[in-house]
Symmetry: C2
Subunit: 219 residues, 2 copies
DNA sequence: TTTTACATCACTAAAAACCGTTAGAAGCAA
DNA sequence: TTGCTTCTAACGGTTTTTAGTGATGTAAAA
């Protein structure tokens, strides 16, 4: 019998080992590789292949979203199950749009990951219960959700290097003046970057920025 | 042979199942229970016992710190291995002070959890490599670290209910006026709570508050 | 009973953040 | 070349946060 080849990507080795241990009792599933960050995922898939990629969103360097976008850009048809700590509706829609086949919240049980792998291997989709609920409530609460989805697009448009620099320092609780000194630029420039960050990430203030940064492991 | 009884507490069922799967291959270790939040941990330990508690810091309702404090308060001598996504020096020192015997960053490998359980069962301490590095660098960088530790004490002194209310709304990117409306109090009061939060948590501004909230799963 | 912690509100003044808009220079790609 | 993005910078103005200090009522704890 041909086994389903799985690659696991998560920045917590403990979770990788855990999932691997869960899957080891499944006879038709084989873990063929793992990565601790998005860069490693792309490197691995450049010279290897797997049937299914289990991909965490929150990873350092290159995050899960960027990995999916890279697959999309390069026309790689990879079956992906997205893992996330947050079952955020925006996040779910976004990853589905950019090519994920399934979405599992980390709070779901280990058995579901087996179900998800089997379902997606058979070209089905898979969502954990909590995720289904979230999605349904959005559709019932808002009839124009399709338009909204397109508006929400490019929500995860990646930040420029400089914006990332500024964001990191914001999260160190630096104010604009301190950031300007650290980066050797004027405070006006720092404030421009701040404004652009707030607009780009569609948040209201620095708190939104900090939370975005935390959720996306920029900190 | 008597098996080491282990209880696992983490808000991600997937991680619990993973650790359980990792431990299932160990003959001398037995998982006797698990909890998805701090409240469940306290309930469980009220009528059961385990040799070792593997305790995640970031949990909803009652977090890991509060669980440890509760053990301390009630004179319960429980061997605890603390799990955390963040190998923050402050955090490590704090949990050791309030009774943890070991500290594992989630980014460490599954095998280390087995090592940690065995070591702590024999009344030793256990730290993952990254944690050791962090601690050492603090001691070398700062000779007066002992005094600092005592200063840092009560860092995690829990917030009052009202402060928590305000903090939650801050994390929703509400400003003071919006918070005052939401909580039916004056903006002056809201600003007092903000000030107290900033002083109590020893942060510089709202960003520090937001990050604290994220790390402690208040959001 | 006295102290302590908590929640509430107020006033001032300075610092910082936020908003909108404009615009030049550099680099890269169609 | 032209268009696009990024980084840089500036101006003027409004809103919000932060810091410091003080004060009151209430309820629980010592």
């Amino acid at each position: 019998m041909r086994k389903i080849k799985v690659h696991i990507a998560d920045d917590h080795q403990l979770l990788i080992d855990g999932i691997e241990a869960v899957l080891s009792s499944e006879e038709n599933i084989e873990v063929v590789g793992s990565s601790l960050n998005g860069e490693d995922v792309l490197d691995w898939f450049a010279s290897n292949e797997a049937d299914i990629l289990i991909l965490d969103i929150n990873m350092p360097k290159i995050d899960g979203i960027a990995v999916l976008q890279s697959f999309l850009k390069n026309g790689i048809q990879q079956k992906v199950i997205v893992l996330s700590s947050y079952d955020d509706t925006k996040l779910i829609k976004e990853v589905l749009k950019i090519g994920a086949s399934g979405f599992l919240a980390k709070k779901c049980a280990g058995e579901h990951i087996v179900e998800a792998i089997n379902a997606i291997y058979c070209n089905k989709q898979y969502f954990s219960e909590s995720v289904k609920d979230k999605l349904l409530s959005t559709f019932t609460n808002n009839l124009s959700s399709i338009e909204e989805m397109s508006k929400e697009s490019s929500f995860f448009s990646s930040l420029t290097p400089r914006e990332t620099d500024v964001l990191k320092l914001i999260c160190k609780q630096f104010n604009s003046k301190e950031i300007s000194i650290a980066l050797h630029i004027s405070t006006n420039t720092v404030e421009t970057h701040r404004k652009n960050l707030i607009n780009k990430l569609k948040v209201k203030n620095v708190v939104g920025l900090a939370i975005y940064a935390m959720k996306n492991n920029i900190v």
